[in-house]
Assembly symmetry: C2
Amino acid sequence: MPSSTYPRLDHPQAFLALDWGTTNLRAWVVSEGGEAGPALELPRGVSKLGPGEPAICLRDVVRPALKAENLPAVICGMAGSTLGWVEVPYSDCPADAASLAAGLYWIEDQDPPVAIVPGLRGAGVDGGPDVMRGEETQVIGWLAQDPSRLKGRHLLCHPGTHAKWVRVEDGRVVRFVTAMTGELFSILTRHSVLRCEEGPEDQHAFAQGLEAAGDGSALAARLFTARARVVGGGDLKPQGVRSFLSGLLIGSEVASTPALLGAEPPALITLIGDPKLCTAYATAMAHYGLKSQVFDGEAAVLAGLKAIILKG
Amino acid sequence: MPSSTYPRLDHPQAFLALDWGTTNLRAWVVSEGGEAGPALELPRGVSKLGPGEPAICLRDVVRPALKAENLPAVICGMAGSTLGWVEVPYSDCPADAASLAAGLYWIEDQDPPVAIVPGLRGAGVDGGPDVMRGEETQVIGWLAQDPSRLKGRHLLCHPGTHAKWVRVEDGRVVRFVTAMTGELFSILTRHSVLRCEEGPEDQHAFAQGLEAAGDGSALAARLFTARARVVGGGDLKPQGVRSFLSGLLIGSEVASTPALLGAEPPALITLIGDPKLCTAYATAMAHYGLKSQVFDGEAAVLAGLKAIILKG
């Protein structure tokens, strides 16, 4: 349970770090010196586990595989959701490493102890609530990686199933918006009239998709052009539909989501996450005249877990 | 096969009319006097039939059920697609009853004869191709129902799985855009994190969805608010998600699709189709300050088939 008297570990302290998502989990041993060992990646996301199974998975699979039987563990991601190990209350924006640490949820009856990083809640589209679980740790990690980032305003984008656009001011997450672009891509390519096989990426079709995204409006109409261009004698080949849709959906997101955060996009947008996906977003941003820089999501999550779990 | 020497039936002539879609078929006997009998509706859409089966279905099921063994038949809809009975080449815009009649496809070896109305191809989003099969007959029918409609410009909207926005000038379809709003609703409510059970309509949640649609941009972000408003302590109840999504998707379409047709929306938009769905669209149009009038799709398809199949 949350405990204000036991929020963080003393420093230096080795620990077990986990990024436990919906589909997969990744885990690392972090040494007393702060170095992370090799990642263990398992297809044991919380959506695939029943009640009680996360504790067993951690004890019987993850700890032995990493020889981490005696280390305290800290977990970020969907393990703290209704689908996960235990539902951890969201922390609220504005948020930084200290406020997330104050919301750490120490699970009862775990020895060695296990903490879950709280998710984050803030004002999203039209000021309504938005939520994240996991990406907050990467944002905090990116800030911790370079103290100069703790000053000023930044716009971060974390692409994925549910992409997050995050506004940071003076080291704190102030608000964010989620775009379910990755999930739209998944269900459209599997369940709709636009369904298509996986295949090699087609950069020309991706660029056609970016062009078709226009100003990010009228997505339901622009999507159908992926079919009309094929059956109506247009310039799109059936094997290009998948990359076209990727370009169209990412382009639509990039064109229209920053405006929902209530300010002009800054001169430079920071992309954090899967390198290949970040590269696709960077291409889309360049198409719209937006500059970006890409940071690796794995390094960010490790830096974030360290910043949250260890006393500063 | 298409035949320029046998495009239309003499008038007066009784015939069998079919609207043969992806999921269902509807059929009526139209008398010499032009009156349609009661509709036969069967769940035998072309997506559920294999090669050769449409001919058997017409001969062994539809004709006996309507005592129409000896009538020529005319079919509109997906029966003319790659999924259907035979692939009928699209007619091109600009299109009217005469140009569609010239493209009627008389199927070989059918006695009594069977014709399929060609689908329509025209310039859609950004001037790229767009296509329809079936809705063109309803547009032609609406025009045929009142000769005063043959003059001037009209904007028609045909809601559905793939909604069609159609610009008509002086009695001819000049261009149109498809929005796959209905299909997005279907796959989101069945296959995504927003999935939800069918239930009673919630007018308040529908209105919230219209509000959330904003200017029709950033759909992937606005969609996620259907989840964030529930799990993030917002103002949406889980049982309202379905109506919220309906309002959000229809609102987004209404807000941003007319602009893709390259001109200001006219003072009055004509809705043709399922009365319940048309009412939802009319509510969305009113939300955006657009006036609309609703016409029944069944009457329009019958009027259209008559206008296309019978010599004028």
